[in-house]
C-alpha cells in the first residue's frame, strides 16, 4: 500500500534561516504517527507546510502520490486533509455545534441560489448536518455542551471541539497540533483514548506533541526533528533507545 503522505527534501526558510531543512519522510496509511522534537525543532512549521498554510521554499509534498504544490488549504481539505490548531482557532461568534457544522461544509449543498431561496434540500441538509454534528460532539465527549457558547467552555473542551470539527470534514489524514498542551494528566489520558478511537475509525492520525508519555503510549511510528532536520524515525521503542535522540533531548542540543 502506498504512503498517504510523502515529503521529499522539504525546506522552508524564513529570512535565510531554515526552519525546516532538507526533510524527507513518509507516513504510511493507517495508524498513529507522531512528530516530536525539542522546542524550535520546526514541528509547527512542518505542519503549516503540510496543510498549505505556508508554501515550501524547496522540495515537494505528495498526498496519496499527488503533488500538493500551490494548493490552498481549502483545496487540501477537499483532498482529505484535516487539522487542529495549537493556538485554538474556534469561531467565537458561533455556538459549539455551529463550529462543528462548519466542518461539514464540504458535505452540504453550498449553492448560493439554493441558500437564498432556502430550498427544501438546504433545509433537509441543515437538519442532517446538525444531527451529524451532535453525533460527533457525542463521540468527542461534548454531548452536554451542544448549544453552548465557546466562551463558556473549558480549554480542554475547546480542544475536543476542534477535533470534532476536523472530523466533521471526514479527513483521511488528520493532523493534531499539540492536542494535550495545557491539559492535566486525566484529560491527557482521555485525549489519548480519543485519538486511538479516531485512528480505529480509519483515519490516519499525525500527532505533533510535547507530552512524551502520550506520544509513546499511542504512536505506531515516531519522527524526531531537530533544528528542522530529521534526527530519527521508528517505533516508539526504537526512538526511546536512540542515543542521538537522547542527547538532543538531554541538553546536547
Amino acid at each position: 500500500m502506498s504512503a498517504i503522505l510523502e515529503c521529499r527534501e522539504l525546506t522552508k526558510s524564513f529570512g535565510g534561516v531554515d526552519a525546516v531543512a532538507d526533510l524527507s519522510f513518509t507516513v504510511a496509511r493507517g495508524n498513529i504517527h507522531s512528530i516530536i522534537g525539542p522546542n524550535g525543532a520546526g514541528k509547527t512549521t512542518l505542519i503549516n507546510l503540510l496543510t498549505g498554510i505556508y508554501t515550501p521554499t524547496a522540495g515537494s509534498i505528495l498526498l496519496s502520490d499527488h503533488d500538493t504544490r500551490g494548493l490552498a488549504p481549502y483545496k487540501l481539505a477537499q483532498r482529505g486533509l484535516g487539522r487542529t490548531f495549537q493556538n485554538l482557532q474556534i469561531c467565537m461568534n458561533m455556538s459549539a455545534v455551529e463550529n462543528v457544522m462548519v466542518g461539514l461544509h464540504l458535505r452540504l449543498n453550498r449553492g448560493f441560489l439554493a441558500a437564498l431561496l432556502r430550498l427544501k434540500s438546504v433545509r433537509a441538509g441543515d437538519r442532517d448536518c446538525r444531527a451529524r454534528a451532535i453525533e460527533l460532539m457525542r463521540f468527542t465527549g461534548l454531548e452536554n455542551q451542544i448549544d453552548q457558547h465557546p466562551s463558556e467552555m473549558s480549554y480542554g473542551a475547546l480542544k475536543r471541539l476542534e477535533i470534532a470539527r476536523a472530523l466533521a470534514a471526514e479527513p483521511e489524514l488528520l493532523f493534531l497540533d499539540e492536542p494535550a498542551a495545557g491539559l492535566n494528566a486525566n484529560e491527557t489520558h482521555a485525549i489519548g483514548a480519543l485519538i486511538r478511537e479516531v485512528a480505529a475509525s480509519g483515519v490516519t492520525v499525525v500527532l505533533v506533541e510535547h507530552d512524551m508519555k502520550l506520544v509513546m503510549d499511542v504512536s505506531d511510528d515516531v519522527l524526531v526533528l531537530n533544528y528542522g532536520r530529521k534526527l530519527a524515525q521508528g517505533t516508539p521503542h526504537a526512538i526511546q533507545n536512540d542515543p542521538e535522540v537522547i542527547s538532543a533531548y538531554l541538553g546536547g542540543a
Binding site: 490552498a72 488549504p73 484535516g82 490548531f85 469561531c91 461568534n93 462548519v102 441558500a115 476536523a166
Partner: protein, 314 residues
C-alpha cells in the same frame, strides 16, 4: 406561544405588517419621502451588515456603489435613451462587475488596510462622478427620467413607497435565508477564524468576494431606486460621509443582526428630522452616537435588547 415557532419567520411578518400599515399614519407626501429614504438606507444597511456583521469585513466605501448605481441608470436612461426597465438592471450589472473585479485584490487585505482600500475606492468613484462632467453633469448633477408604466410616468410617492417596501421585505427575506444556510455559516466562520474555515474546506476568499458583490449590488439597487424616485442625482450621493453613515447604521443597530441593520437605518435616517432647527448639531450627535454605542453597547441595540428578553436571539 408554541404556535409562534411554527411560523417560519415571525420577524419578517412583523416587518411586512409594519410596512403595510405605516401609511395609515402618513398624512402628506413629505412623510412618504422620509419613509422612502428610510427604506433605501435600510436596503444598503442590510447588505452591508452581511459583509460587516456576518463576514467581518469592513467597508468604508459603500456610498460609492450607491452613487455609481444611481449614476449608471441615470446616464443610460437620460443620455442614451435606454428604457428604465433596462437601465436599472444594467446599473446593477455594472456595479456587480466592478465589485467582483475589485473584490479579489481588496479582500486579500484585512483590518486597516481593508478599511483604507474600500475608503479609497469609494472616494475615487465620487471623484470620477464629480469630474466627468461631460457624462455626469459634474458637481451640479443631472436630471433622471421617472419610471413609467404603460406610458404613464410614476411620480406619486405612494407607489414608490409600495415598490421599495416590497423590495426591502424581499431583501430581508433573502438575507435571512442566506445567513441561515451553509453559505451563511461559512461567512460567519470567515469572521470567527479564517484559518479554521479554510482548513475544513471553506474557500474563504471566494465567500468574501461573493458577499462583497452581494452587498455592493444591494447598495446599487438602493441608489438606482433613489435616482429614479427623486428624478435627480448629484455626486454627493457617493460622498464619503454616507459610507460612514451606512457603517453607523450597521453598528448602531447591531452587527450580525439583520433586524438590527433595519433599526439602525430607521434611527439614523430619522435623526435629522428631530434636529430641525439645530441642524448644525447633526454631525456632532452622529459622532457622539458612534462613540457611545461602540463603547457602551459594543454588540449594538438589537442584540443588546434581545439579550434582555429571554429566548430572544436574532
Amino acid at each position: 406561544m408554541g404556535w409562534l415557532k411554527r411560523i417560519p419567520r415571525p420577524g419578517l411578518i412583523v416587518l411586512a405588517l409594519a410596512l403595510a400599515s405605516a401609511p395609515l399614519i402618513f398624512s402628506n407626501p413629505y412623510q412618504y419621502d422620509v419613509a422612502i429614504h428610510v427604506l433605501t438606507n435600510a436596503m444598503v444597511a442590510v447588505g452591508l451588515n452581511l459583509l460587516m456583521g456576518y463576514a467581518g469585513q469592513i467597508s468604508l466605501g459603500h456610498a460609492g456603489f450607491f452613487g455609481l448605481g444611481a449614476y449608471v441608470t441615470a446616464v443610460l436612461s437620460a443620455n442614451y435613451g435606454w428604457p428604465v426597465y433596462l437601465s436599472m438592471p444594467a446599473a446593477l450589472v455594472v456595479v456587480a462587475v466592478l465589485a467582483f473585479v475589485i473584490a479579489r485584490p481588496i479582500l486579500r487585505l484585512s483590518g486597516h488596510y481593508l478599511a483604507m482600500a474600500t475608503l479609497g475606492l469609494g472616494i475615487l468613484i465620487s471623484i470620477v462622478l464629480r469630474t466627468e462632467a461631460g457624462i455626469t453633469g459634474g458637481p451640479d448633477g443631472m436630471m433622471v427620467p421617472p419610471i413609467s408604466i404603460g406610458g404613464t410616468d410614476i411620480y406619486d410617492e405612494r407607489y414608490w413607497y409600495a415598490l421599495i417596501a416590497i423590495l426591502l421585505v424581499a431583501t430581508v427575506w433573502l438575507a435571512l435565508n442566506l445567513i441561515d444556510s451553509p453559505v451563511g455559516r461559512a461567512l460567519r466562520a470567515v469572521h470567527g477564524s479564517e484559518t479554521a474555515a479554510e482548513v475544513v474546506g471553506v474557500h474563504t476568499l471566494g465567500y468574501k468576494v461573493l458577499i462583497f458583490v452581494v452587498s455592493a449590488v444591494l447598495a446599487a439597487l438602493a441608489g438606482v431606486l433613489t435616482a429614479h424616485y427623486s428624478g435627480f442625482v448629484t455626486p454627493g450621493l457617493a460622498n464619503f460621509i454616507y459610507s460612514i453613515e451606512f457603517v453607523t447604521m450597521v453598528v448602531l443597530g447591531g452587527m450580525a443582526s439583520t433586524y438590527g441593520a433595519l433599526v439602525g437605518a430607521v434611527i439614523l435616517t430619522l435623526l435629522p428630522q428631530f434636529l430641525t432647527g439645530v441642524d448644525d448639531l447633526e454631525m456632532m450627535i452622529l459622532g457622539a452616537i458612534l462613540m457611545v454605542v461602540v463603547i457602551f453597547m459594543p454588540t449594538g441595540l438589537v442584540p443588546t435588547l434581545a439579550r434582555l428578553v429571554p429566548g430572544g436571539r436574532r
